[in-house]
Amino acid sequence: MIATAYKFIRYDKPKSIGVVIGIIISTFLIGQQVGILTFLTTLMGGLVSNSDTGKADIWITDKITINANELAKIDGSVAREVRSIEGVESAYPIVVTPAVASFSNGKTAPVTIIGSEAPGFVAGPLKDKIIKGSLADLLDDFAVSADFYDASTLTNSTDVGTELEINGKRAIIKVQTKDARGFGGSFFYTTLSRARFYGNFPDDKVSAVAVKVKEGYPVEKVRDEINSLLPLVNAWKTEDLKSSTVRFIVISSNIGSSIGSLVIFAIISGFFIIGLTLYSSAMDRVKDYGTLKAIGATNGYITRLIIVQSLIFAVTGFILAWMLLEGFRAGVKNAGLIINISPLLLGGLFMITFLISVGSALFFSVRTINSVEPASVFRN
């Protein structure tokens, strides 16, 4: 069956190539868009996901924000108060403040300064994202971190030793991170006090408080406890703050709907382009299918023959699209666009490819070929 199906495919090379290209284009497009969207969502939640989740079970923010990138100031006393709540092991104040960085070449860029207490640096940077320097280096005078991938957006090197000014105050990059980034702004990590200093942030205020829950206490319960005892702030499970942030940006920026409609468009156009090309090549072979029926093939056999052809197309197109995606991933990696081709993405893509080609074969070709009467072979 597979051999016969393959011969049918090979016999009509131009149309078969057309089908495969159709599958490659729609599969690649879908994979690329979903990959970019996934990458963007990691950036959106970057502030939360780059923090030390081993320590931050709960984030406390102001009452109204649902986007971690837009934290309003809360009272610094919250960190102290929360420590006395049952189930709280420790609480870490975090300062997040916008600033303007200017470099020796005269270029300036908006940045986000993120400060948390040394030596834990609960807000980040995470050890495994540091490629040059160490957390201890952030204790040096004027020390901040900068990200490898932000070198081009900051129009300068972010290498260790680079001097710059933040809000007009001297700073030195002492730690270089890789892929510790947010959505629409470079992250500069530093100590809590230096973040206040650079961002002119009031001493009695913080942006958020990260809370570590004692072992044996359910995080939800502690969160609810904080919320009932401290009515002026809002406690989140870390994961919830991240997903709320992502959801907010995806919806408010229309990224979700624009990528979503592109994916749907790719599926629909793939379905029709592939289906109609398959249909046209099946119609070219209608005499052969009729002959097969006359000499004893059942409709089931013919259906399988067509489905196996569409499966061969699906697998070939999928593998080529995957290779193309890998090429795309490698190509944009250096620019800091990190596309993660996860097994989930691949599985989903294969399902879509499968549905497009097998679905369109069933929809267009199988119905028509099944209605061909075996007696028709006598009339030609």
């Binding site: 011969k7 016999y11 072979r285 052969d288 006359a294 093939a297 409709n299 075996p374």
Partner: protein
């Protein structure tokens, strides 16, 4: 197809009832079929009508025809007379409008399309005017196709197909695609495909119409030798020169079947 069959079924019931009432037999046709095992295909009071729009064409009037083992039956008649219709009925590719069709003891009227396909696969070989080889498959693969559909393993199927191709002197062109073969060669491959599954009935619709004189002779001799080997071979043609190969001739004229030439009938 299904709705047509339902009406036919009602037809059969009525007809069978009258028949058994008259003859007093329970299953007269089954009896007739089994009485003579040499009858590979039996058409009994079989007719076929085609409906196109509001006109009904009677392609075959109610006819009694048998195709027997060891016989090459020539079906002769002018264009449009109903030859292909007759062959299609015996070949189980269409259902009769009235009457019964039996092939290898199976009552075709009662079988569903999948059962008919199976019946064709195992019992009937077809040879067509335009050869109808599967274009993407080589000569060998074409001949292997019926065997593969019977789920015979590749190795065994290949061996049998090679033997069949050698039998029709096409052993040296097994790797060729149909489009690389001449008409006569394609028809020989088609004959190999028709006989490879060892069917009892081989039905040929104008097998020589697209062939030159030399190829006609080769093809007809091959069909003749199949009949000698015990198969029932039916050849539809309007070429009276093929009469020399016939063991028996059936004439079809305006949908009527007879064993005597129509002009003779009129003459008598």
């Amino acid at each position: 197809m299904l709705s047509v069959r339902k009406n036919e079924d009602v037809c059969f019931e009525l007809r069978d009832m009258n028949f058994s009432e008259i003859t007093g037999e329970n299953q007269p046709l089954k009896g007739k079929q089994e009485a003579d095992k040499k009858n590979v295909a039996v058409l009994s009071g079989t007719s076929k009508q085609y409906k196109t729009g509001d006109t009904t064409i009677t392609a075959l009037q109610p006819s009694d025809v048998v195709f027997r083992e060891n016989e090459l039956t020539l079906v002769i008649g002018p264009s449009g007379s109903g030859k292909t219709t007759l062959l299609s009925l015996a070949g189980c590719v269409i259902y009769p409008t009235s009457g019964d069709v039996w092939v290898k003891g199976q009552h075709v009227n009662t079988l569903n399309p999948d059962e008919l396909a199976r019946l064709r696969l195992y019992n009937i070989g077809f040879v067509f005017q335009n050869f109808n080889l599967i274009a993407p498959l080589t000569a060998l693969e074409n001949v292997m196709q019926p065997l593969r559909m019977m789920k015979i393993p590749v190795k065994e199927a290949r061996k049998k197909a090679q033997e069949a191709l050698e039998m029709v002197q096409m052993g040296d062109r097994m790797k060729s695609l149909p489009k690389q073969l001449s008409g006569g060669q394609q028809q020989r491959v088609a004959i190999a495909r028709a006989l490879v599954g060892n069917p009892s009935l081989i039905l040929c619709d104008e097998p020589t119409a697209a062939l030159d004189a030399k190829s006609v002779s080769i093809v007809m001799h091959e069909l003749k030798s199949l009949a000698k080997d015990g198969k029932s071979v039916a050849v539809v043609t309007h070429d009276t020169r093929l009469k020399q190969f016939a063991d028996r001739i059936i004439y079809v004229h305006n949908g009527y079947v007879s064993e005597t030439p129509p002009d003779e009938e009129i003459f008598n």
